[in-house]
């Protein structure tokens, strides 16, 4: 099998337990996995899709749970899980994975004993727009809060959740956990997609969006991230390109999405750079994006048409957030002195006027 993906089958035997699998689980791994792969399902037609990083496995669990009415114990369930290795999660296209999840039939478990071959990518289709926007909104919550999206048929959002996971840059994928279920029990997953609110939230600070109703406030336009149109496609490419190394949290993915949108809308450069340093304050983070935005204008003109003086003004206004050596600030200022001495003075004055920058650096 090329690029194998491990699988585990859980079901009710002597309690809900591991029935078959292509790998073994240690007791701590089993204890950590079981809550994600168990459900006491009351509706015969309900299925649940679960995605979560499991630290003890050093892997990502993608699983589906079905009711098992053929078992004597009421509420018994089958759970089929794929365990994605860390490098698989980071580097592979994930859209074909849900197609590997299958319910056992006729008590035959042989096919669960060997790893599966990584599937080809598939088009997961598009969920209704209010649903997909709500899912993106909750998943990329600025404050990293767990959230619940309410929708009459939770299965309708499964493709969107996997597509969203796939759209995230590699380091951020592990941070997106989700579960679809009939009744929400918020708190354990970043995104819960459910038909109704069940128990009270464990966590106090939970975002709840009822996607079946008109939103109380207009959703931010970055919630269109999974749209089929060219603009959303450009945003996804932007996020993937610049976040591939350093965008490790959903909040950082959000920062990239907002930057892409601001650039698209030709927003004020200050807003773009403020968003950048808010999401990625360290000078070593998203170096390629930092260079593309504030590197020398004659080398980095792809993202925006911004002159050298404006770039240097933005950069020197926030010196703690940029590596002035890597960005060759001294050389660029020297070159500017040669070509446009008044321009350099203009840079210094603007930085001072904004009350930013280190006065001694500016004097030098």
């Amino acid at each position: 099998v090329r690029d194998p993906v491990d699988q585990l089958l859980f079901g009710y035997r002597d309690g809900h337990e591991l029935i078959a699998g292509s790998r073994e689980l240690s007791p701590p791994q089993l204890r950590e996995v079981l809550p994600h792969i168990d459900a006491s399902i009351e509706r015969a037609e309900e299925q649940q899709l679960v995605g979560t990083w499991v630290p003890s496995l050093d892997g990502y669990l993608l699983a589906r749970i079905w009711p098992a009415p053929e078992r004597r114990r009421r509420g018994a369930a089958w759970g089929h899980a794929l365990v994605l290795r860390s490098e698989q999660l980071r580097s592979r296209t994930l859209t074909g994975l849900p197609g590997l999840l299958r319910r056992p039939e006729n008590e035959r478990f042989d096919s669960y004993l060997a790893p599966l071959e990584w599937p080809s990518p598939v088009d997961l289709g598009a969920a209704e727009r209010p649903l997909s926007r709500a899912l993106v909104w909750v998943a990329l919550d600025r404050e990293d809060r767990p959230g619940v999206v309410l929708w009459d048929d939770p299965r309708a959002g499964e493709g969107t959740l996997v597509a969203l996971l796939d759209a995230l840059p590699s380091p951020a994928r592990a941070g997106l956990s989700f579960r679809t279920r009939q009744e929400a029990r918020p708190g354990s997953y970043r995104v819960v997609l459910a038909a109704t609110m069940g128990a009270r939230p464990d966590a106090e600070d939970v975002v709840v969006i009822d996607a079946r109703r008109s939103p109380l406030s207009t959703p931010p336009s970055w919630t269109n991230l999974l749209d089929q149109g060219a603009r959303a496609s450009r945003q996804r490419v932007f996020i993937d390109r610049f976040g591939a190394r350093d965008a490790a949290t959903c909040a950082q993915v959000l920062a990239l999405a907002i930057i892409a949108e601001l650039l698209d809308a030709r927003a004020l450069p200050d807003r773009v750079i403020d968003t950048l340093v808010e999401g990625f304050p360290g000078p070593d983070q998203v170096r390629e994006l930092r260079a593309a935005l504030l590197g020398a204008a004659d080398r980095y003109g792809g993202l925006w048409r911004l002159g050298e003086e404006e770039r240097l003004t933005l950069l020197l206004g926030r010196p703690e957030h940029f590596d002035v050596v890597t960005l060759s600030v001294a050389e660029r200022l020297a070159a500017l002195v040669q070509t446009n001495p008044h321009g350099v003075l203009g840079v210094v004055e603007r930085v001072r006027a904004r009350g930013r920058g280190n006065p001694r650096d500016l004097d030098e």
């Binding site: 007791p27 701590p28 204890r31 809550p35 994600h36 114990r73 009421r74 509420g75 004993l113």
Partner: protein, 300 residues
Amino acid sequence: MAAVELAAMKIVLLGEQATGKSSMLVALYGALLNHRAGDTRIVRTIDEVEFLSRGLQALGRRESVHRTEIDGRSRLTIELARQERLATIELADRSGELVKNMLDTRTWDPELRRQLDEAAAAMLFLRADHIESIGHDGRITNGPSADVGPPAAEATDEPVGDGAAASADARPEPPPWSPSQMPPDVRAVDLLQSVLEDRATALPLAVVISAWDLAGGIAAAPPAVWLADHVPLLQQFLRTYAGQLPHRIFGVSAQGGDFRTDTSDAAESEDPWDRAYLVGPEGTQGTLAEPIVWLIETAV
């Protein structure tokens, strides 16, 4: 005279999967709501009771209560009144798989341990038809496979991991010993030993033999006698540690019968709270609230 309010009390439910914890909670809730709990009255419910209402509906349809999933966080928190006294009790309904995995892996489940630390009392659940009996003819009857265990087709040991590739015609090796092979009474003692190792103060314990109808019901030997006959190791352990584990033994039939076999008109016409019953340690019939009442009185 004003009622005396007792401090809130947490009671932890100990028992492996399918030992009747959820059914007991549902039946107790039904008994309290419908005035079948003697002089114990429910004053108010303090928490989410949807799972209890659904459980009561299931019992009303003569269906078993759904199992509790491993990540379940259901609990019954109620204020009870009895003889001028008010008590708030919280009974958390956690999945029996937590206890099973704890015993199998010899590792405390952190959540269960926290619950025990906070608990003023406990209920230990054993299921009557899970306990093997050795008859005079030497034959073993009952045991987990007799009811909720897997049918024969499921009971085959499916290989997992490295052993998966073993060929079908190879001579089967006896499975290596593991704690999961211990009988229920040994596992119960193992669990209580772990509890005692971790606890400095006494823990009042109500031992609930569930599915009491399958042990003979009201006509059976009293639960205390039944325990000594069928689960002597546990009975001796409890007697030895009576100071740390003051205890009483109850037989409970939360369903009031076996839904698969008991199809009499009388059984079908009764409400769940009228079908359910409890037998006290000495064999007298009581209300489902008795274990809770005894625990409250002993723990205070």
